[in-house]
């Protein structure tokens, strides 16, 4: 028998490992935090790894979770062992099929990384809201609490489901378990083989459809029999608990780990017992053992099989001495008598005739921390005479006072465990290095290890915090490290941004990457940090990792260096052994990528020790460097009190009362978050500039601004503020300025690349050039502040359909958290400039909803009049319909307001009433005039106390034309939301759809969509996508009455501006599909616009506008805005890793697919040419 390996994996990988081996068909759709399970399964199949029967499972990606569950249902009904992986909204979309699958008594397991469901806000983090929402479907619910349990129960659930014929949801906590790396004993194929009974598999298969033995399943039933038929399944459900326990016992014989339906831990004579399920059980387990060891009569009942809920087993597991039971639910059911587990406990007591008092409460929503301190706090509460019921644990509820108090300083971290916290930047490789360290320690030594990583919602300048534990015993502390004996700060600037040393325990080691030598670092530390070092008696070590990285050719990747320093200082392994292990890991990771990469990493390891120094700290605080306030004092109160706290990583401490009740937040808060993440920023050269504004239109973060203004406004300008005579007749006598927002710029360099103006004497000097940010920061901060104070150009006087004109409009989308060089945001920003002051934006879930609406700060903002886009995200799948709803309101309210204007004509006067009712509102001047008329209207009816006047006062603003925008990515438009999009486009209503087409699911990490072009590699298309890209624009054009445009700003910015303006002006549905470069393409984002040009030059992306209004004039509505293919597709495609990598994994296939893709391009161009040449004059 093969020996079992100890592996360092996370919960997702553990589930996928087992599921892939015991299924035949896997149908998935990506959703955080479950996406990785599907990706692992896809990778196993792509590598030809067989299941336990020796055949490679089929892994397919569907267009939605609804689609995935339908495919799963179909595959199950035809007899294949089938599974899927999902979470949150994904699980909700599967509910209809789940009822069917269960109703048909079908053996199946869904592996769910449990996640919050969007309500007042979306959250990708873990709780049980999703699994609790499927309680009624008839699926068994089985909870795993750790990566090891995930691996074990994934198998047990499958075995049990086959035996019971009841489908199972096997769930574990999103992120806390799905993403926690732990040391897991990997089950062997033999283990799996022994647990899965082939007779049951054959029985499952034989229940499947076959024309050889046909039957009908899925009938429609009437009142006469439906009820009785529904009750037929009862015996199967009644048997489930025994079956599951039987499989658990069988598993114990095979693998040695014994599980129970309800597992009790703690004092045998416990009086106070907590009941819960999921990862929190691990923390509770440790805490209960600790407290029981202290003599407290406390216990914990872990629930594994939650549905069917076996009262008998539940009561059987409870100590007879139990006096009080506290049921903890990781979900919220507003309005219910209590949360689900609480209600089950109450029912169990009632039905079981036990007189144990039950209280219930909520904890851990959206991965809120659950700590030993909270467990202790709850036991303390339970010891009170009148403990709270319907309580909350882990927050401060100062509104309805539900929260249970606890002492946050209570800790049970054992001394034997190395507890290390690392603060890093996403781009510096800290997390990768830490995952590597866990692998080294967990797999190569007898130590146990655990890693949990806090990532960022910002994609540029992302901060990561790694929590690593190493120790001689299995690690159950499923919470962040609050008491660290090793803290590493990989970025010196963090010391001024948040409290890096908060978790450091007295005497801890503090490793700091600093651009200072060991003699000078002390004086450069902020005062507060010095105080902490002295107060806690920390051992300070310093290394200039960036210098070492530079000198060893590692660029800005300091991961290997900091990892080596950690091993050198932490003593987890003997130093030599650790260094050899690091080198072995480097060889393993990079060996296939070439000797050069390996050598550089080796050099970095070798140079680290020579550059790592212990700092002799002073005995007193010497620093005058104060940590600056998180936001400036002029920030609004809400930003000061709430936003700033979240920014400072203190959001956990905000009380309930601080937060909006309905998810409504103020616009324009990114302006208060000065992130200073750019190493270099653009510097303007007025003497070279031709004022084309290409830099401004290209800037993904609205940090290059362009203004033309009266020189009188220059009065009081800072000394270094630049301006130059404005170019163009219409700007006679005015001056122009291009100004950078130095603290918001991400340093992507796109502006420099698109700048067409060069110094004739020195062409490498452009009108805008990158220069180091730090020396320019203060000066340009003042300049930018002055610049913002200069009045905007009068938008009624601007030719908005030109690049230059559009860039004189103030961006109402600024400083988003998108990736540096993002290809989507320039379009979003342009939209905000052109129509933002009167737009309603419906945004599909995805990158644009995250950089557009993720707390703490959001980029949609307002103009000088306080107007701006109003923005919302409903879901992923319903975005078109959601935005359509905006339109319906706008149409109805506008119409009603017009009716009221007519009704109040007498009061308003004919001139004003007619002016309002007949306003074309086709230009900015028209819009401004209508706004003025509406103000007059409001004034005239201000004192009028009639029902019509009251109604009109509330609706008058709808008389100004609203611009409804439905924005989303290709995953939404081509896949999950396509049905709705098609319907909305076909409705004829005036909605504008902007598809940010990155040709891949960007936000969830590069899964294939139907927009992915042929030959490109993506997740679920590891061998290159074999099918061509869907032509969404062409499909829309077939309706004939939809304005359709395909644009690529980098190839033709003027066409992009025109298309947006035309789309918006069209009184009907419009669809603009925008080529958006993305880091998932594997390109140099600085050259993103150049790559767009190549896409167009190669014909891979055709620029066109289809304007139905032209057909009315007897003209062909289709105008091609790009020429035929000028360069081979290869010249475009092989500039991108997504295409190029296939040439190295499967060169023959790459060649074949590229040839076909070239054919796609040629054929599409010919078709478009023919369509554009049709005669519409007849």
């Amino acid at each position: 028998m093969t020996e079992r390996r100890m592996v360092s994996i996370d919960g997702n990988e553990a589930a996928a490992y087992v599921a892939h081996k015991i299924n035949e068909v896997i149908a998935i759709y990506p959703i955080t935090p479950s996406s990785a399970m599907g990706e692992h399964a896809d990778a196993y199949s792509a590598n030809g790894e067989p299941n336990i029967w020796g055949t490679v499972p089929l892994v397919v990606e569907l267009q939605s979770e609804g689609g995935a569950s339908g495919a799963v249902h179909g595959a199950l009904q035809t007899g294949a062992l089938t599974t899927t992986f999902t979470a949150s909204q994904g699980l909700l979309l599967m509910i209809p099929n789940m009822y069917k699958i269960a109703g048909e008594l079908t053996a199946a397991v869904f592996h769910v990384s449990a996640r919050s469901i969007a309500c007042q806000a979306l959250s990708i983090f873990g709780d049980h809201s999703d699994v609790m929402a499927v309680r009624a479907t008839g699926w068994a619910l089985l909870a795993s609490n750790s990566p090891q349990e995930v691996m074990d129960l994934a198998l047990i659930s499958q075995a049990a489901s086959l035996e019971a014929r009841v489908p199972f949801v096997h769930f574990f906590d999103g992120f806390r378990t799905s993403h926690e790396i732990n040391i897991v004993e990997e089950l062997t194929r033999a283990d799996l083989r022994a647990m899965i009974d082939d007779e049951l598999v054959l029985a499952h298969r034989n229940r499947g459809f076959s024309p050889e033995r046909p039957f009908i399943r899925g009938t429609a039933q009437n009142p006469d029999v439906f009820f009785q038929a529904r009750e037929t399944v009862n015996p199967y459900y009644l048997k489930v608990p025994e079956i599951v326990q039987g499989q658990m016992d069988r598993f114990a014989e095979i693998a040695g780990r014994q599980y129970r339906l309800f597992e009790y831990v703690g004092a045998p004579d416990a009086e106070r017992v907590i009941v819960l399920m999921g990862s929190a059980a691990e923390v509770a387990h440790e805490t209960v053992e600790y407290l029981a060891g202290q003599g407290e009569k406390v216990g914990l009942l872990k629930v594994r099989l939650y549905r069917p809920f076996s009262i008998e087993h539940f009561l059987g597991a409870l100590p007879e001495t139990t006096r009080l039971l506290a049921a903890l639910d990781r979900t919220k059911e507003p309005g219910a008598a209590g949360e689900p587990l609480y209600q089950d406990c109450v029912t169990a007591m009632a039905e079981g005739g036990r007189s144990i008092k039950v209280i219930g409460g909520r904890y851990g929503l959206s991965s809120k921390e659950f700590t030993p301190a909270m467990v202790k706090g709850l036991f303390d509460e339970m010891a009170k005479e009148q403990p709270k019921n319907h309580f909350t644990l882990g927050i401060h509820d100062d509104v309805t006072h539900t929260s249970v108090d606890y002492d946050p300083n209570f800790s049970i971290e054992p001394d034997e465990v190395v507890r290390a916290v690392f603060y890093g930047l996403g781009s510096d490789g800290t997390v990768s290095a830490n995952k590597n360290s866990i692998k080294i320690i967990g797999e190569d030594t007898t130590n146990y290890a655990q890693g949990y990583f806090q990532y960022d919602s910002k994609k540029a300048g992302a901060v990561t915090v790694s929590h690593l534990r190493f120790g001689p015993r299995p690690i159950r502390q499923t919470c962040l490290i609050s008491s660290a004996n090793f803290v590493a700060c990989h970025q010196f600037v963090f010391l001024e941004q948040f409290d890096v040393l908060e978790s450091a325990e007295p005497g801890a080691t503090f490793l700091l990457n600093a651009p200072y030598g060991s003699n000078e670092v002390w004086d450069n530390l902020p005062r507060k940090v010095q105080e902490q070092i002295l107060d806690k008696d920390l051992k300070l070590y310093v290394i200039d990792a960036y210098r070492v990285a530079r000198e060893t050719g590692m660029g800005v990747r300091i991961n290997t260096i900091m990892q080596t320093a950690f091993f050198a200082l932490s003593g987890v392994l003997p130093r030599d052994q650790a260094i050899q292990a690091i080198k072995d890991a480097i060889e393993k990771t990079y060996g296939k990528r070439g000797e050069a990469v390996v050598k550089k990493n080796f050099a970095a390891v070798d140079m680290t020790l020579a550059n790592l120094f212990r700092v002799e700290v002073m005995d007193k605080v010497t620093s005058n460097i104060e940590i600056p306030p998180v936001v400036p004092p002029e920030a609004p109160e809400f930003v000061q009190k709430v936003t700033a706290e979240i920014m400072a990583r203190r959001g956990d401490l905000l009380p309930v009362s601080a937060l909006p009740i309905d998810g409504t937040y103020p616009s324009g808060t990114t302006q208060w978050e000065k992130r200073n993440i750019a190493l270099e920023i653009p510097v303007w050269e007025p003497d070279i500039c031709i004022q084309c504004a290409k830099c401004a239109i290209a800037c993904p973060h609205a940090t290059i601004r362009f203004k033309i203004y009266d020189p009188a406004h220059l009065e009081g300008a800072p000394e270094t503020f630049k301006s130059v005579e404005a170019r163009g007749k219409e700007y006679d006598g005015m001056v122009a300025t291009i100004q950078v927002a130095p603290e918001d710029c991400t340093g992507c360099g796109l502006c420099v690349e698109v700048c067409p103006a060069k110094d004739r004497k020195m062409p490498k000097r452009k009108a805008i050039n990158m220069a180091p940010q730090p020396p320019l920061r203060a000066q340009e901060r003042d300049n930018y502040a002055f610049f913002l104070g200069i009045p905007d150009f009068d938008r009624t006087q601007i030719k908005t359909n030109t690049v230059k004109g559009s860039q004189l409009l103030r961006p109402l989308f600024e400083y988003s958290g998108a990736c540096a060089g993002c290809g989507e945001t320039p379009y979003v920003k342009l939209l905000s400039q052109l129509f933002g002051d009167r737009s309603l934006v419906s945004n599909a879930t995805g990158c644009s909803s995250i950089y557009g609406g993720n707390l703490p700060t959001t980029p949609w903002t307002v103009n000088q009049d306080g107007r701006g886009p109003t923005w919302s995200n409903s879901l992923f799948e319903d975005n078109a319909e959601f935005g359509f709803g905006f339109r319906l309101t706008a149409d109805r309210q506008t119409e009603y307001a017009r009716e009221l204007v007519e009704a109040l004509r007498g009061t308003l006067g004919d001139e004003l009433a007619d002016g309002i009712l007949n306003a074309g509102q086709l230009s900015e001047a028209d819009i401004a005039a209508q706004r003025a008329r509406v103000e007059q209207l409001k004034a005239k009816i201000a004192g009028l106390d009639t029902p019509e006047a009251t109604q009109l006062r509330s609706l008058a603003d709808w008389l100004v034309k609203r611009s409804v925008w439905i924005v989303g990515g290709d995953g939404w438009a081509y896949d999950i939301g396509y049905g709705g999009l098609d319907h909305v486009l076909a409705s004829g209503r005036n909605v504008n759809v902007l598809v940010l087409d990155t040709q891949v699911y960007s936000n969830t990490g590069g899964q294939m969509s139907k927009a992915t072009p042929r030959a490109a590699v993506a997740k679920f298309a590891a061998a290159g996508k074999p099918m061509p890209k869907k032509d969404l624009g062409m499909i829309a054009m077939t309706y004939g009455n939809i304005y359709v445009a395909q644009v690529a700003m980098g190839a033709n910015d003027t066409q992009t501006v025109r298309a947006l303006v035309e789309a918006e002006s069209y009184d009907g549905p419009s669809l603009v599909i925008a080529y958006s470069t993305c880091i998932a393409h594997g390109i140099n984002m600085r050259l993103g616009f150049d790559q767009m040009k190549k896409a167009v030059d190669s014909g891979a992306w055709v620029l066109y506008r289809y304007d139905p209004r032209l057909a009315d004039q007897g003209l062909n509505p289709l105008q091609l805005d790009s020429k035929g293919p000028k360069i081979p597709l290869q010249d475009y495609a092989y500039n991108e890793t997504r295409f190029r990598m296939l040439t190295q994994t499967d060169p023959d296939r790459a060649e074949m697919l590229l040839a076909k893709a070239q054919q796609d391009v040629n054929e599409r161009w010919r078709m478009y040419q023919q369509l554009a040449s049709l005669d519409y004059s007849a």
């Binding site: 990778a43 996403g426 050069a596 060069k758 960007s1002 969830t1004 679920f1020 994994t1145």
Partner: protein, 335 residues
Amino acid sequence: MVDLATTYMGMSLKSPVVPSASPLSAELDNIKRMEDAGAGAVTLHSLFEEQIESEAEALAYYMERGTEMYQEALTYFPPVQDYRREPEEYVEHIRKAKEAVDVPIIASLNGITPGGWISYAKRFEEAGADAVELNVYFIPTNFHLMSYDVEDLYVKIMKKVKSQVTIPVAMKLSPYFSAMPHMASMLDAEGADGLVLFNRFYQPDLDIENLEVTPNLILSRSAEMRLPLRWIAILYGHLDASMALTTGIHTPEDVIKAIMAGADIANVCSVLLKGGIGKISELVTGLTLWMEEHEYSSIEEMKGSLSHKAVAEPTAFERANYMKVLLSVPSTITI
């Protein structure tokens, strides 16, 4: 029947016409067609140092960029188990080429530093390459670099490669050495098995509209063979190393000139890029006809017959040549 066989770096070739490194030999079918058309050997397209060193880095960079920082997308590409990088592809290409044809396969390595890329020569040998051609494509832009530093670089790289392989190694040189005979004899003495004269740098062009430097490929013409022709003629008979003439061979007559000057083989490239691989057979046929017409029985008989050593007027290869041309200009020039 004339004997077209020649010996180049110890290898017996059935003909002196050998395609030089070009994209054409990246295709296996083309290599077969080259053999069928009468090529004596085939030089594969170059594997560049940049491909070996930088490509690996670039791939590592783009595969890793953006990973492990944003919670919903910890990676952006599917994991790849069997990653075949370009150098690996090249090695595989050698193997396939060797299986496909009988003529010797000369692998080509192109780089400018004595770095890790050189180790690929060993891989070439293991894959079956019959010889290695080293193309040191070095443009000295450093004003402090002395001429002997440059010469030393070539020798170092050549020696490093020689130390790793047992197959013959040819050095492809540029014409820009101030003391070509010394340079050649130094390489010869240090073990070079062949010299390929000369490397033809693709000179960049200037885009005066966009104020940019633009890469520009201009194919060679026959007249350009005069430069290597002279130096081969001068070097012939002084070295142990074989010699290949490259640049400007377009006609059978050009091949004959190359051989008569002292080259063991005539490398062809531009002519094939312009006229197709079939041009090889035109060259071979033309060469055969010419030899028959002029009653030469073998290549060996022709080799070096018009070299500096052999001709009656060796000074014609020296500066006098230039003067003679000048003197031959008619004296009555009308302006």
